[in-house]
């Protein structure tokens, strides 16, 4: 065996045998490190130096759902303007078919959420002015939600909790000549109990309502039929009372249009300039029971602001740098939101240059009904506080 070969063989044996297992259970104090990990806890009562809340981040027409509500506290109806239905189609290369007899009309919606405890729901479908636009209000639409404009009333099976449902509505749904093929419908909820129903709007990846016309061509091609599928051109809902800006001193989150709250924090340098924080809890107090679907829960998250442009501030997109807490509909009292990752982020090279500003909002914004409001700094002792648990600098010792 050559010297080279010997070296290679021995080297391989040595490398193959390399392994490390060094960890032992500590037997203290004999075989434990000299230092101790020591925790400290402090309450920062006045760290919220300014806060505000603004509604309008996700507008009604941008929400992922359409809402119909019969609650005393919130009345709401859906408004849908469908795309123009063509009156001509081309069954083959040489023929032109003109829409003739209309056989049926089918409305499809995707149930997003309903209160399954409430039974015997029905949808009342009304004819609205064809050129419906987003300036409509609950009050301005009320004249159309009356019997003269009623197209049909359909029943939502009690077993249907989510997914697509289709209703064959009045076959006689005609498109007035003056409306150029455009149909707008209003959908109201009829229920023996107060409740809320949401369906997909087509925004944020949801499936929109659809109106299908099944028609036959005029003679001599009256043996040919076609189904026109028309998605919405405009879909929204209007409500009463209309949403307004949150009152001063209240940190309102969620709802629709969605509200966000912004808090500017003043933190001791020692808190921000270290990664020793193991827990930082924002202590909040609700000003009213949380809104939303009955017995539902939703998430409130806190995110740091990268650039402070007021209500249009840019948020740090990394979901790991955030805090979250689940809120239940009807919940009131104190809420604890852990935001230690945000404080640690501010201690990094990247985060150091960002403002000490956090935004509170519901998640996913524009897709849930949940809403909650917290007392702001103006509430004094009931306002936000921050409880920080951190590790005191570890004493490694030398040598």
């Amino acid at each position: 065996m050559s010297a080279w070969r010997s070296a290679v063989v021995v080297g391989l044996i040595a490398i193959a045998g390399c392994r490390e297992q060094l960890t032992t259970p500590g037997r203290c104090p004999e075989l434990c490190p000299r230092g101790n990990v020591q925790l400290a806890d402090t309450l920062l009562a006045a760290m919220d130096v300014s806060d505000t809340s603004v509604r309008g981040y996700v507008l009604v027409r941008e929400a992922s759902y359409l809402m119909a509500s019969t609650l005393d506290s919130l009345k709401s109806v859906m408004l849908i303007r469908f795309l123009k239905r063509d009156s001509v189609w081309y069954p083959d290369a040489t023929d032109t078919a003109y829409a003739g007899q209309q056989d049926s009309v089918v409305l499809s919606v995707v149930i997003a959420q309903r209160d399954t405890a409430v039974k015997q729901l029905r949808l009342a479908i009304y004819r609205l002015p064809a050129l419906l636009d987003t300036a409509a209000t609950y009050a301005s639409m009320q004249p159309y939600f009356t019997d003269p404009f009623l197209v049909d009333t359909v029943t939502l099976a009690d077993t249907v909790q989510s997914g697509t449902v289709t209703f064959r509505i009045a076959d006689s749904l005609v498109i007035p000549a003056g409306d150029s093929g455009v149909v707008s419908l209003g959908v109201a909820l009829v229920s023996p109990q107060q409740t809320v129903l949401t369906v997909g709007s087509g925004n944020l990846g949801t499936t929109p309502p659809n109106l299908a016309y099944f028609v036959h061509a005029r003679a001599p091609l009256d043996s040919i039929s076609k189904a026109f599928q028309e998605p919405p051109f405009v879909s929204l809902f209007v409500m009463s009372p209309p949403p307004g800006q949150p009152p001063a001193g209240v940190l309102a989150l969620g709802g629709i249009p969605t509200a966000r709250a912004t808090m500017r924090l003043s933190l001791p340098k020692v808190v921000v300039d270290s990664n020793n924080i193991v827990r930082a809890t924002l202590l909040l107090n609700t000003t009213a029971p949380a809104g939303g679907f009955a017995r539902d829960t939703f998430t409130v998250i806190a995110q740091p602001v990268v650039r402070d442009y007021g209500i249009k501030s840019v948020l740090w997109p990394d979901s790991a740098v955030s805090g979250a807490v689940r809120i239940a509909q009807g919940q009131s009292g104190p809420v604890e939101l852990d935001i230690a990752p945000i404080l640690r982020f501010w201690g990094t090279t990247v985060g150091d240059s960002t403002p000490r500003l956090i935004v509170l909002r519901v998640y996913p914004e524009g897709s849930i009904l949940g809403s909650v409001s917290f007392a702001g700094r103006a509430a004094g002792a009931a306002g936000p506080q921050l409880r920080v648990t951190y590790v005191k600098p570890y004493q490694f010792g030398l040598p």
Partner: protein, 384 residues
């Protein structure tokens, strides 16, 4: 050109030599760490008794005179430990490279060499679990403190052969670093984030050693070495400290009563109490002066591939300088170690390479604490 592989291998070995010990021990958490034994596979199998005469061990620069040409060598040591902490036992393992070296004869009387060997092992890791109540509610906290690294002894040495006596001198540079990490997790409560803090400590120091081998009688050689060390300087990004290192003295002899049989022994002393004041200032227990003894027997009874393959057995005992469980105010339990060893060596590649295998098994005891260990040594020497 035929020497190129050896030169390259030696250079690579020096570059790759980790600043870590041949043997890790749970007791390395105390004092400056675990005191290493920079011995070859052959010396390890002889209980360390031959280390003073072994050209591949870094104990005596005069022993380099054994080289008649150019040589490169490296030693790998894999070790298993078993330690019972009362709160739980653990099996540990580690692989280290205690010595790598390169030597070349310069003329008929002079040999020069460069070696890299382990001096202090500071590899350890401790896991503790506790229940803390930072907010009044108990939460389980799991702490792991880990140190990786150590101090390596780089030696440039020269041996000069005279009639009946060989002298040697070595210049030592101590270098290395440790990375100490403390990590706390809260395994049962996700509301608490993990905490990690790290400290890198760099070490440096110098020393000089002298050695001699004397052929006092026929088939009898006596040897001695003395090493003077300066201070070991430890520095971090914002602080520094230094510890005086001990005077080390070793003496021994070997005797060949008949051809093919070798009896050898070495006694060592290190004045580690000189480090006491600095250790106390750092919040540690006082160190102590330590003795070590090793002896072994080699007999060429076996042939492998036509070559003699000496069989070796040995025993060693030593004191370790850093007590366990002590503090500046409380005297800790002294730590000692003993081991039985054995092994063999054989030539290969036409006599241009030697493989030395050694294994030792022993225990370390400090008061009621003890650790058993088994270490396997694999040494390779190439003489192109």
């Amino acid at each position: 050109m035929r020497r190129l592989p050896v030169v390259l291998a030696a250079a690579a070995g020096l570059a790759a030599a980790p600043p870590a010990a041949a043997q890790d021990s749970v007791f390395g958490i105390r004092g400056l760490g675990f005191l290493d034994r920079s011995v070859s596979g052959k010396s390890a199998a002889l209980g360390g008794g031959f280390a003073l005469f072994d050209a591949e061990s870094a104990l005596n620069p005069a022993s380099l005179s054994a080289w008649r040409g150019t040589a490169g060598w490296a030693v790998a040591a894999g070790s298993n430990h078993s330690f019972d902490a009362g709160s739980g036992s653990s099996s540990l393992s580690a692989t280290r490279f205690p010595v790598v070296g390169f030597a070349s004869a310069v003329g008929p009387r002079v040999v020069v060499a460069v070696t890299a060997s382990d001096y202090l092992d500071r590899n350890w890791s401790v896991q503790q679990t506790d229940t803390v109540s930072p907010r009044g509610t108990p939460v389980v906290a799991s702490d792991q403190t880990k140190s990786v690294g150590g101090v390596t002894d780089i030696r440039a040495a020269l041996a000069y052969r005279l009639t009946g006596i060989t002298l040697g001198v070595g210049l030592h540079a101590l270098t290395g670093s440790t990375e100490t990490t403390v990590n706390r997790t809260f395994p049962n409560d996700s509301a608490y984030l993990a905490f990690t803090q790290q400290l890198v400590t760099n070490y440096s120091g110098v020393g000089i050693s002298f050695g001699a081998l004397v052929s006092a009688a026929r088939r009898f050689v006596a040897g001695a070495s003395v090493r003077f060390n300066g201070r070991l300087r430890a520095s971090t990004a914002d602080t520094a400290a230094s510890v005086p290192l001990p005077l080390e003295v070793n003496a021994g002899a070997y005797y060949q009563p008949v051809a093919g049989v070798l009896v050898t022994g070495t006694v060592g002393y290190a004045g580690w109490s000189t480090a006491s004041d600095a250790l106390v200032a750092a919040g540690q227990a006082r160190s102590r002066n330590v003795w070590s003894v090793g002896f072994g027997v080699e007999a060429a009874m076996l042939r492998i591939g036509g070559n003699l393959a000496p069989l070796r057995v040995g025993y060693r005992w030593r004191q370790l300088p850093f007590p366990i469980g002590g503090s500046p105010a409380i005297e800790g339990s002294p730590l000692s170690e003993h081991a039985l060893a054995g092994g063999l060596g054989f030539d290969t590649a036409g006599g241009r390479a030697t493989v030395d295998l050694g294994i030792e098994s022993g225990s370390r005891t400090a008061g009621a604490l003890s650790e058993t260990f088994t270490t396997a040594y694999l040494g390779l020497t190439i003489r192109p």
